[in-house]
Every structure is written in structure tokens, then in C-alpha cells.
Symmetry: T
Subunit: 68 residues, 12 copies
């Protein structure tokens, strides 16, 4: 009756600014089809290097959301 | 020719009764769009505590099913 | 201001009945000094064998509770 | 002199009833050739799905027993 | 603006020939709904045994592809 | 004589601002009863989602400090 | 009654030809004392190097087979 | 009734002599407030280097003891 | 012919400002001898504590770069 | 033809002296039925505590030996 | 005196043909500065996808070789 | 300005005496080109067996040292 089920989706967000921006980007895309309570877990952090500097921040996250 | 492909979906089932009930709930929801042979693997077991007692059993599982 | 901090404590509950009973035992002992929201994660399941039968169910869990 | 050696054997028990029944089955088979103190650790929990319901509970465990 | 988001899907490919054939099969099925840059990571390799010989090669992979 | 012992405590800090703020919060609470040299290790990063945006940053860390 | 028990054995197969040949070798040796349904999981892949070339392919696998 | 609960505490012992001395140091400090049966598990081994030699042996262990 | 080889180097960057600054520092040092495409993966995040506050952010990363 | 197969057996050695003694004990027992080249890998180190001191050193190891 | 020291280097080999070819490529490059006994362990297998097909096989390996 | 960078190198030390001797050997070789503060972490312990006895102790460690 009151049993809930959540689904987890793994996404990779990329940002030229920061990891939190990368996560926000990944969450925003995933959330288009998501309603109600939700949370995420960081699975991996990585990045791209250009001319000796990190130029892209990549965050792999698991987004969990309630299945209606 | 006889090559098969299976897809894995990660879901979290919650139950006030037991872990097996939580798994059954997660499987039932996932199975609505699933036909043919299928199996699951437990990824994590957790729960909620209220007044010093476990009041919700949460099972994160990977459900695998055949892609037609 | 609204920042919260939770503490995690690792405990092993043992029961001659079931894993859920072992978890409830561990939660009950830990909860004596715990108020407010709390949850747990199962870290490991094990057990003792006597005369070819499982006679004790052991659950190692992490109990998380709010630091006032 | 008083040094002891234990051996570990990995087995998978299957049951249509419950995980604890699956573990008991695995322990019973392994214990036929085992004497003295023994214990087990759960390595993985999985299961089979039929018609949208879990119909088999599978527990992979490591059984440890004293080498005479 | 130039932020990208990738999605990861876990699939199991099976082949009677080889692991690379199993991976290609899993990729082909997943790629039907995928455009643009993509990559995969091997999560697990397993197989079936018949009459003392490996008769099926199974590759579990995570396929990553760009979300438009 | 010069042997030292450190203790590790696992805490989860939450912040609406950033991961570093969440870590600082967790460190501050733990440090009330801590003197001398100390360090921390990040165990997990997660977060809450509201209206398609990350609204809470959660950092699970192990704080290590010298036992007097 | 219909409860089944499987046993897992860890073996390392070596081949100068390929990983699949190494697995087949490991399976063949193990299967001499095995009847009925069986499967394997790859635990590790490694190899030997001679004169700057891989000259031996080594596959560590877990072979699972039904206990009669 | 006969249900037992154990608590686990993570500590790092340091010694200029050996790993076993480092473990003994960590156990001794933890055991001051511990009665009855207890055991430990090694979580990590590390060390400090001075002048090209290991000069401190560090053992991170989980000490488990019965909660009265 | 078109086969490429990349090398991975593990470095720890430290910063009094932020994790991203720590990563940038580690990347900058490593990149002095690196040309062409490159990327990094975060292996561990840790830090130092002084007077109850995080005063150093430490990021262990694997830097990958093309071998000419 | 020149293909080799090794088998791995997991054993736990216990000693009141040292870890290396515990390993030697485990190796000695396993080696009674073993010929030819062999090696071992340490899987876990643990121990028992009596009166605030480590009184038993336990080493879980995987012993690998050639299958004739 | 007879003590040996080995060094481990992590490299990623890429090939349009196969994983074994990718490993051979990585080994060949690393081996230019390597003499004597050596071996490798596979750390990760991945790949690139073009037009719904795996078009590059990538093997991350640890090459171990004797330090003179 | 005061930002530091450390490099990690993975080495395997072998000794006919003990694990600590194996570690010291690995540290000594690595330290020839290392100045300033440094530390190590044990990654794996293994060994060789001859005539039913451990005859070589092998320690894989990560040596960390400051990059000037």
C-alpha cells in the first residue's frame, strides 16, 4: 500500500565551470521527466585537460526519483 | 543469430514489512514493461529508523530482462 | 544556519531468529542515545553454524543519526 | 601447537521461500563434511523472476570451517 | 551553454563466438536509439558452460551516449 | 613511548551552498571535542534535488584526530 | 525439496593463444568432475611478457556447478 | 534475550617498531573502555619515510567489542 | 598503425583554497612534460584540519596523457 | 599443450605469534596436497583481543597451486 | 642481497582490432625501457562506439618489471 | 604559492625475511630519487611458496613523495 519504488539513472554532467555546475546540469536534464522527491549520489569525478589546465569538469552521478 | 541482449535497471524498493517484500515491490513495478526471462541482484540494503526501531526496509536491486 | 550534521556508528547485531531481528536489535541499542531522524545501511551479513545449521544471524550496519 | 587453520568454501544456495532458507540449504550441504566450529559470510544476494514476481532467492556465501 | 550531459545504460550482450562479438551485439541494440559520440566500459565478463566447454560469452557493459 | 593513536569518526555534513561548506560544517562539529593534529577523507558525496535542482550538498567524511 | 546448491571453484587458466583459450582450458580441467548446468565469471585477467610482447594470457575465473 | 550487539571503532596505531606493535598500541588504547570478547580487522597499512627508510608503521584497524 | 598508447600518473595536489584549485595545481605540474590530448580521474579527496577548520584541500588524481 | 591451470584455495591461518607465522601455518596445511610451483595472496588480516591485547593473529590467504 | 624490487606502470592501449592487440600495443611501448622478467594485469576494458559499432578497443593495464 | 604536489609510484618489494623487510627494500630503491617528506600505503601482500613454506614475502606499496 504505502510501499514506494525509486528508480536510479546514471548520468554524466560536464561543465567548464565547476563540479557543482556539472552536477546541476546532469540533474536538470534528468529532472525533466521526474516529479516528487529525488536525490543523487556522486559515482565518479573526472575532467579534460587542455594546455596544462583542467578545462572541463565531469561528474558521473546516480539520480534517484520516485516511480509514480 | 541466437545472440541475446539483456538490459539492467536499478530500482529501490521500500517496504514496512521486510526486505523480501521490498524486493518483490521493486520487481513488480519494473516487470510491468518486461517479458520473458529475468533475474535480479541485490546492490544494497538499507532502512529508516523511527523511535528506535527499523520502520522501513529498503532494497536497491538491479533487475535484468531480455531485450526483444 | 540550516546546515545539518549526521554521525555514523557501526554496530553488529546478532539474533537467533533472523537478519531483520538482528538489525532491530542493533538499532535499538544504538537508538538509546539518538533522537530525531535516522537511517541505517547494511555493511555485511554473516552468521554462526552449529550442527550443520545456521544458528545465529549477524548483521553489521551503519546507523546514521542527527547531531544536535 | 595451538595454531588453527580454517578453510573457506563458496556456495550458492537457492530457495523458493526466503534468503535464510537459501542460506540454510547451502550450509546444510557444505556441513556434511564439516565438523567443529564454523561460520559463514554472505557474498551476494540475487534471485530469479517469473511473471513479475521473485520466484527464487539465491544466496552466495563463504562457509568457513576448521581443518582438522 | 556548451555543457553536455551523457546517459549510461547497462546491458549484457551474449555470443556463442567471442567477448568482442558479445560487446558488439550489446552495443548494436543500444545504439538504435543513440546518436553522436558514445563509448562503453566493461563491467563484468562471464559465460555459460556445456559439456565442459564455454558455450556462451557474456559481457556486461555500460554504454554512454550524449543526451540531445 | 612515542607511539601515537588516532581515532576515526564518520560524519555527514549538509549544506545548501557547496561540498566544501558541507565538509567544513562536519569538521566544525566534530572538532569541538578534538585537539591537536587532525585530517579527513571524503567517503561519499551526495545531495538532495528539489524542482530539478540540487538544493543540498551532502559530504560523508572520516575525521581522524589524535587520542591523547 | 527443489532447492539447489551450487559450488564455486576459483581457477587460473593460462594460454599462449588468447584469453578465451585460457578460459576454455580452465573450464575443461574443472569440468572433469562436474555434471549438469554450470557457468563462470571472470575474476581477473593478467599475463606474462617476454621480449616486449605478451606471451601468456592468464584468466582467473570462478566456475559454478550444481552440487548433486 | 540472548541477542548480542557489538560496536566497531576505527583507530590508527603508529609504531616505530612494527605493524604488530602498531596494532597492539591501537588495541590497548581502545580496550581501556572495553570488557569481554573483542576482535579486530586490519583496514589499511601505511607508513612514514625518512631518509629513504620506513620510520613509522601505521595500522588502521576496526576494533569490535560487546556492548553491555 | 593508428594505435595509441596513454600513460597514467597518480599525483596529489594540495590547495588552501579549493579542490578544483588542488586539481589544477596537480595537473599543471604533471602537464609540464605532457603534450596533446589528456584527461584526469579523481581517485580520492582528503584534507587537513587546523583549529576545527579544513585548512588544506587534497585531491589525488590519475592524469592520463598520450605517449608519443 | 603447454597450457597450465592453477587452482586457488582460501584458508585462514591463526597464530599466537605473528601474521607471518599464521600465513606459514595456513600454507603448510594446504601444501600437504600440493606439488610444484605455488604462491599466495593475503585477502584479510584480523585478530582476537584478550585483556586489552592482541592474542591471536589471523591471516586469510588465497593459495594458488598447479593442477597436474 | 637477493631482494628484488619491481615497478608498476599504468598504461592504456588502444586498437581498432581487438583487446589483445590493444594490450600488445601498450606492452610494446612500455617495454622499450624494460629488461628482464615482466608481467601485466588488466585494470579496465573500455571502447569507443561509431555508427552503432565498437570501433576502438581500449585496455588499461598495469605493467610490472624488474628494477635493476 | 604554498600549494604542494606529491607523486605516487607503485612498487613491489620482495624479501626472504619479512614483509617489513620487503617494504624497506621497495622504499630504499624508490627513495634514491626522492627528497623531502614522503609516506607509503600498502596495496597488496603476497608471497611465493616452496616445499610447503612461504619463501618470499612480496609487498606492493604506493610511495608518495613531494614534487619539487
Amino acid at each position: 500500500m504505502s510501499n514506494k519504488v525509486f528508480k536510479k539513472i546514471r548520468v554524466v554532467g560536464c561543465s567548464s565551470e565547476s563540479y557543482q555546475d556539472a552536477i546541476a546540469e546532469a540533474v536538470a536534464r534528468t529532472a525533466e521527466s521526474v516529479h516528487g522527491s529525488a536525490w543523487f549520489e556522486v559515482v565518479q569525478l573526472s575532467g579534460a585537460i587542455t594546455d596544462g589546465k583542467p578545462t572541463e569538469w565531469q561528474a558521473t552521478i546516480d539520480v534517484s526519483f520516485k516511480v509514480d
